[in-house]
Symmetry: C2
Subunit: 253 residues, 2 copies
Amino acid sequence: MNSIVIFGAGNVAHHLLKAFSSAKDFRVIQVFNHKPESLISLSTVTETTINLAKVKPADIYLMAVKDDAISEIADNIIYKEALMLHTSGAVDIEVFSNFSRRGVFYPLQTFSKNKEVDFSQIPFCIEANKKDDLQLLESLGKSISENVYHINSQQRKSLHVAAVFVSNFVNYLYTEGEAICKKNNIPFEILQPLIMETASKVTKMNPMEAQTGPAKRNDVGVLQSHLSQLNKEQQKLYSLLTQSIQALHGKEL
Amino acid sequence: MNSIVIFGAGNVAHHLLKAFSSAKDFRVIQVFNHKPESLISLSTVTETTINLAKVKPADIYLMAVKDDAISEIADNIIYKEALMLHTSGAVDIEVFSNFSRRGVFYPLQTFSKNKEVDFSQIPFCIEANKKDDLQLLESLGKSISENVYHINSQQRKSLHVAAVFVSNFVNYLYTEGEAICKKNNIPFEILQPLIMETASKVTKMNPMEAQTGPAKRNDVGVLQSHLSQLNKEQQKLYSLLTQSIQALHGKEL
């Protein structure tokens, strides 16, 4: 049985704690967080502390905190023999250079507190500076997920950018779609099957092949009519994305 | 039993023909298309023609053709008492002004020939200039789908723009995500659970609430590191979408 202390009480920490509660070989023995408020809901599940000096000895220290806070917290860890992990897509493994056992445990998913996620489907991107620890991380990943990938720090940084495109930016486009619906008294739910199918399509074919729409067809009449219905900010986005699609696919004349 | 002639043999026509094959009160009696090649695969299902003069008398003429082709084909229809329908998100119902019975039957979905779709979940946006025909359209929609909405031409145009944002543009962002993966020897499948969850989230909460990521957090270090990894075209998109997210959500400092 490996003991884990989780740092952070945000969305990732919250979901990981829950997932580990049914893992066989790993047990979360404590959660640390600066703000006591965020710990209240966790305190029924495990021990909590707001005091770095009271962090318990453990096999694994798992930092699910903001990127900037990782090194600061690490500086305060006195148990130098533990495996140090963070869950960030953007931070290099060498943030733990003061420790001999370093690793990354990056769940490639978007978490919101009030939305359950199926952990078994979440890809975990793991990295470690020692072979044994990579195996330990593989077990840690497989204790809660079916999808564990070995991804080095450089790849992880690229993956993080790619994730911003396919998730954060995509969600922003959903926001614009909803705003257009609202303005015209159309229920947003009408768009939801389209949203789901657009996502599901690229699990079956590559996105280049899946592209449809007036930009790809260079349907000038439709493009102009669309622009005329949008506000300035939306027009900028519409124009740039249309240009990008046409640059990639060529104009079908 | 209402007879239907479908015009067009593209993705929408293809999928509609298949869906209507199990509808109770409607039967497709013919498919017209300019190019004979596209009709080959359909000719086992129903009668086909490439000659507008050979179009059969029918209760409903359903144009699933390119927007520009709708009025041209309509000009060649001699059966003036039929209900004229098109499936376009962008074309006004008045494109059929030479006919007394006009309507729109717009399936809000993205279709690709090689990807099956569950028609029962597709929203059909219907509009008609006569009450009786609106009821007929409601039956037509409900014969293949659970989701039928009354949407006027103005709303439909807005919906079409919104659909471009949440589907065509979103798919383009998937393409960029895939390109970044490919460049760094990362399998694109790693991103697929994230893509599905991002889509699924906005069926449970509104997209504004679902927004996460470095742009919303104004995580300057990450934003700069991301930009440094992108090519010029990607940088333009990244900057504009980041600005848009920050304009909407405010910078969380």
